[in-house]
Symmetry: C2
Subunit: 313 residues, 2 copies
DNA sequence: GTGGCTTATACTCTAAATGAGTATAAGAGA
DNA sequence: TCTCTTATACTCATTTAGAGTATAAGCCAC
């Protein structure tokens, strides 16, 4: 099996670990960035590291002063052209990490960036984002119209509209990555233009370094999928919270609103939380009971499911 | 953190691509193996490869004579001790691939191995597998009883019973990896004993080379999860099939039986398939209508969902 | 060619889950 | 006390899911 080995196989291959660290800060889902807010924390995987995870922890903590809690592997990339030709090649192993607000500090080099700044079309909490109708839909219409023969054009538009929910199709919040990739393909995000030419300024969403925005999209998609069947939200919550706070966090992640009464029904019937006995009176209305996550149920739920209701319209 | 390092960041790191290639052959879910049936096809990622996927394709096709269709990335491993100390270290990027029976041939070096040979406890189609009550439950009871103080013992047994569905808890077919890892931890699979000592013969399920069985477990878990919400089963079906054949394939993957009438209802209402107009008369009873996958719905369903009914008991 | 075996296919029934809404409670502040 | 705000309890209709009954349409043995 080892034909051409020995010379080049195991040389010039750099292994990078990239972290997408997420926290919800004052209701705003945010990602930890370095370098002026457009780079994800990352660093090389070194021989001294015991494992990929521990390598990542070491790097991120050094680079951001931020200790890592829950982390999970996202995806491994290896594009030859990732950093231009001739530079050898890099393999990037990306991770998703979740942290609580209390643990948030932000060091000199790192800071928390609201992720919807990079994906304004993903936040539907206040209704359809304007950017969809103003830039994305016309942009994709043009892209579809430029695609080969009639049939190919129809196929392009079908793809676009089913992914983005145009023409009265429903919005699926999990398709973050597909949407980003489609925009990239259609040249509607700045990263698609190597030279960052004239279009870059007009393209929706703040661009990021190299393919970091794609990685962030992967993370968002994974998180939105995961909160529906694993109780990971709690990794983002303070130890004690009201049900509305919990709901707001879920909404921040999924980018859409939930039906309050049904949300509460679902959470309670799943026995994920228990009352602390105290109430929070700073809510502006009737004081809300405070809850904590039920640790006893933790393992069980990690295995089984959690569900979250989201309004249909 | 950089204890024993020197200059060597990008040296001595070998990158392996590992394929878990799945096909359902005559109702038996199988995995492509080499080396006498205990190894997954794999090979180094080389500079000449355009991407991870194309590297994998090249390797597998050369090694097994088997062209790859649908593939998706599974997980990236990097254990320092994977191949013993001093051997540098290896990073393994694993992929799951699905193929159709027609494409199945099996070359000299490769062959198809029924995967339940490696995971006999995962096949519940003919009721609870005997190995559960005979070996696994007593083995895990013993393991639980040997774990620290009373509380720790209870916690161990709780974990075991909720993962394996003991004590009248329900079986969750998706927890393939958790079950394998628990068995490993409890020393109940041969791989847990480096020396392959006396217990190896008694341990349930055929062992595999290195950590290949863990990778296979990862693949099985992913596949069982995925068939529930993406129409990937069709990658495993011939172009034309009866609904019962489709059902048998789903059952083979999930390891449990489905309710025939409800299965049909679900498949039909989802409009995943369409009649070809022909019937198959070799089914032993009333001839069954033949169906094909609806290509028009393919993209849409790739984005949206597919569901599959499974009997509760 | 008829009765019995097998699988296919159509329906029915019931319970649970889900989406949406109404009604009432309990604080703060004018 | 009235009003505003949020919290919380219930109700209702629809959909989905699990399970079962009934009927259809082939083959085969006799």
């Amino acid at each position: 099996m080892d034909e051409t080995r020995g010379t080049e196989t195991d040389r010039d291959v750099q292994i990078d670990l990239i972290a997408v660290l997420v926290a919800v800060i004052a209701g705003t889902p945010s990602v930890l960035t370095i370098g002026g807010g457009d780079k994800l924390p990352s660093g090389p995987f070194e021989l001294g590291h015991r494992s990929l995870q521990s390598g990542l922890r070491a790097w991120v903590e050094r680079q951001t002063g931020h200790p890592l809690g829950y982390i999970e592997q996202l995806y491994t990339f290896a594009d030859r052209d990732r950093f231009g030709r001739g530079a050898g090649r890099a393999i990037s192993i990306s991770y998703l990490g979740l942290t609580r607000p209390e643990e948030v500090d932000g060091s000199a080099e790192s800071r928390w960036t609201p992720w919807y700044a990079h994906f304004p079309w993903e936040d539907h909490r206040a209704g359809l984002p304007a950017v969809l109708a103003e830039k994305i839909e016309p942009g994709l219409k043009k892209w579809a119209a430029s695609g080969g023969d009639g049939q190919a054009q129809v196929a392009r538009w079908q793809r676009a509209s089913s992914i983005f929910g145009f023409d009265d199709r429903s919005w699926n919040e999990e398709l973050v990555l597909q949407r980003y990739e489609l925009l990239y393909e259609a040249g509607l995000v700045a990263e698609a233009h190597r030279s960052h030419g004239p279009q870059a300024g007009d393209a929706p969403g703040k661009p990021m370094f190299a393919d970091h925005r794609r990685i962030l999209a992967t993370a968002l998609a994974r998180l939105r999928t995961k909160i529906k069947y694993r109780p990971v939200v709690f990794e983002l919550m303070p130890p004690v919270f009201t049900l509305l706070q919990l709901q707001r966090t879920v909404e921040a992640l999924s980018g859409r609103l939930a039906h309050k009464q049904n949300f509460r029904r679902l959470i309670e019937q799943q026995e994920l939380v228990e009352e602390t006995g105290e109430t929070a009176s700073d809510t502006g209305g009737r004081p809300a009971k405070l809850f904590r996550f039920r640790p006893s149920i933790h393992m069980e739920r990690t295995l089984m499911g959690t569900r979250v209701p989201i309004t249909r319209s």
